[in-house]
Amino acid sequence: MADKQYSVEINDLAVRFSTVDGVVHAINGVDLKIEKGKTLGLVGETGAGKTTTALSILRLIPNPPGEITSGSIVLEGKNVFEYSEKEMENIRGKQVSMIFQDPMTSLNPVITIGDQIAEVIQLHEKIDAKGALEKAKEMLELVGIPGTRAGEYPHQFSGGMKQRVIIAMALVCNPQLLIADEPTTALDVTIQAQVLDLMQKLREKYGTSMLMITHDLGIVAEVCDEVSIMYAGRIVEHGTLEDIFDHTSHPYTEGLFGSLPNIEKRTEALKPIPGLMPDPTNLPEGCPFHPRCKYATELCKTRMPVKTDLSDTHSVRCLAYEEGTGVTLGGEKA
């Protein structure tokens, strides 16, 4: 256990945003670890704090209004909050790179895609402009775009093609960690599969670790080794793919699975989670999930659950798994 190598370790991260409507507690004590070469899925609804977690790793939380109030993020044995801005620039795009959700808006409309890829090469490698452009073209070929198109502008490409360009840009400097923030959400279903497949292939080729942010459990099942389920700025359940899919423990995770249509058993009704994510400016007392939890008891409204380890790999934050709380999940005492 102790000799495991992590490409990133996040401990007790908390981020808040000060807005006119009040202080938004976006992240409230998140712990994450990604083993080298492995993929961690970060799953949750919109507004759970997934993207904020990812941007924190790159220290790209806009400040103001965002502010990291506690915690540490360790990359290669050093806390990123101790780096200077200059050192951080060397890490971004080189050690850690990121793929964003919307390929339509993530590329600069007035710079050719070749130059946009070449820029990241020139920033992080000792290479002249011509060599960088050559390498950019090779990278384009690798993601399935003819290198001759390097001189074209983003508006001349389709959404799926743009996402390939962004993937090329993210992987061209061979980063140790790739953060993919819902990389396929904005794409057509058929393109989604191609893009995911491409990412998987390149990631395996370079041995890159990945943080896959998604709300799609199907994608998780396909590409992830471990999964963290996030709710209202906290990790409510964490485990291996098997732990989460076969030994689902947290009522919220259960709800997520219940919201998925089952293609084999089409007669089975969906069991959506009632209600909405709590307002992050005004989180409820106790377990933040209690207003939507069908097992909630009086205790859940006042007591914040702590992390309970169910096995070496599987942990959960729910009072039902804590000793002596008397909370149960539908009779079957865990």
Binding site: L58, L60, E85, K86, E89, N90, I91, R92, G93, K94, S97, M98, F100, D102, T105, S106, L107, N108, P109, V110, I111, T112, E119, V120, L123, H124, Y153, H155, Q156, I166, M169
Partner: protein, 309 residues
């Protein structure tokens, strides 16, 4: 791209025809009799009638217009009622002075406004931002002729740094008129640059650039600026129109020997051919600047360029 330029140049022709007709038509509504104006109150009616005939004032407006346009094609803008000299020559001799004023006014406005706008946007809500926005608001609200008079009071009557009028003192006589003319444009362009920049730095592709490890200054200069300039270029083109209008007033304040002063004097003298000539020349200048702006636009924004390839 060449095709596009030629197409746009050809499109100038109907606009110039339209403008000249519009101005010609408006001037023809004038109730006074130009022949009477030229000959004076006491001239006998016979000679006035004779002059009317000679000037073709008895023909229908459309015929007069056709004749005028025919002459215009030969570079003939008619003769000034007041001086009797060809209007073309009168305008041509004054054109360089106005061009000089307008050019430096625009340079003054652009060179100061864009950097101030960028700094304001990148340091939103800072002291620098607040101060420059207050000045921009005041700059937009200040009539240039009044600003000119205030500058004269301060810098020529009291400090005696610059002359209060005329164009005889070289660059010194250009300073106050240029500031007078350029301030309004500068304020407008500053505001546009700031808001456009603020819009752009919130875009996803700016975050992408940061995630690539691009430094803050390079994000602004390389990734944000070119995008932010697209609306700024539009505003610069539009501002050129008010700059030309402003030139008339600025010239009036500083007795600048340009087309503006000539236009104001011609209006007062009811010198129709001169007024027509001036307005048409100003409008052609404005149209050409707008054409240049559109071409610049295509240069900055590849999405537009590819449409015309």
């Amino acid at each position: 791209m060449h095709k596009y330029v030629i197409k746009r140049l050809l499109m100038l022709i109907p606009v110039i025809l339209g403008v000249s007709f519009l101005v010609f038509f408006i001037m023809s509504l004038s109730p006074g009799d130009p022949a009477r104006t030229i000959l004076g109150e006491n001239a006998p009616q016979e000679s006035v009638d004779a002059l009317r005939d000679e000037l073709g004032l008895n023909d229908p407006v459309v015929v007069q217009y056709a004749r005028y346009m025919g002459d215009l094609l030969h570079g003939d803008l008619g003769e000034s009622y007041k001086s009797g000299r060809p209007v073309f020559g009168e305008i041509a001799s004054r054109f360089p002075a106005t061009l000089k004023l307008a050019f430096w006014g625009m340079v003054f406005a652009v060179v100061l406004s864009i950097p101030i706008g960028i700094i304001s946007a990148t340091k939103q809500y800072s002291i620098t931002d607040s101060i420059s926005m207050v000045f921009a608001l005041l700059g937009v609200a200040t009539p240039n002729f009044w600003l000119g008079l205030m500058l004269i009071i301060a810098f020529s009557l009291h400090l005696r740094w610059f002359p209060s009028g005329g164009a005889d003192a070289g660059w010194k006589s250009l300073v106050l008129p240029v500031i007078t003319l350029g301030t309004g444009c500068m304020a407008n362009i500053t505001r546009t640059t700031r808001s456009s920049m603020l819009e752009v730095i919130r875009q996803d592709y700016i975050r992408t650039a940061k995630a690539k490890g691009v430094s803050h200054n390079k994000v602004i200069n390389r990734h944000a600026l070119k995008n932010a300039l697209i609306p700024v270029v539009t505003v610069i083109g539009l501002q050129f129109g008010s700059l030309l209008g402003g030139a008339v007033l600025t010239e009036a304040v500083f007795a600048w020997p340009g087309i503006g002063t000539f236009l104001v004097n011609s209006i007062k003298a009811k010198d129709t051919p001169a007024v027509l000539g001036c307005v048409i020349v100003f409008s052609i200048c404005f149209s050409i600047v707008n054409l240049c702006v559109d071409l610049l636009y295509a240069y900055i924004d590849p999405r537009i360029k590819s449409k015309y390839k």
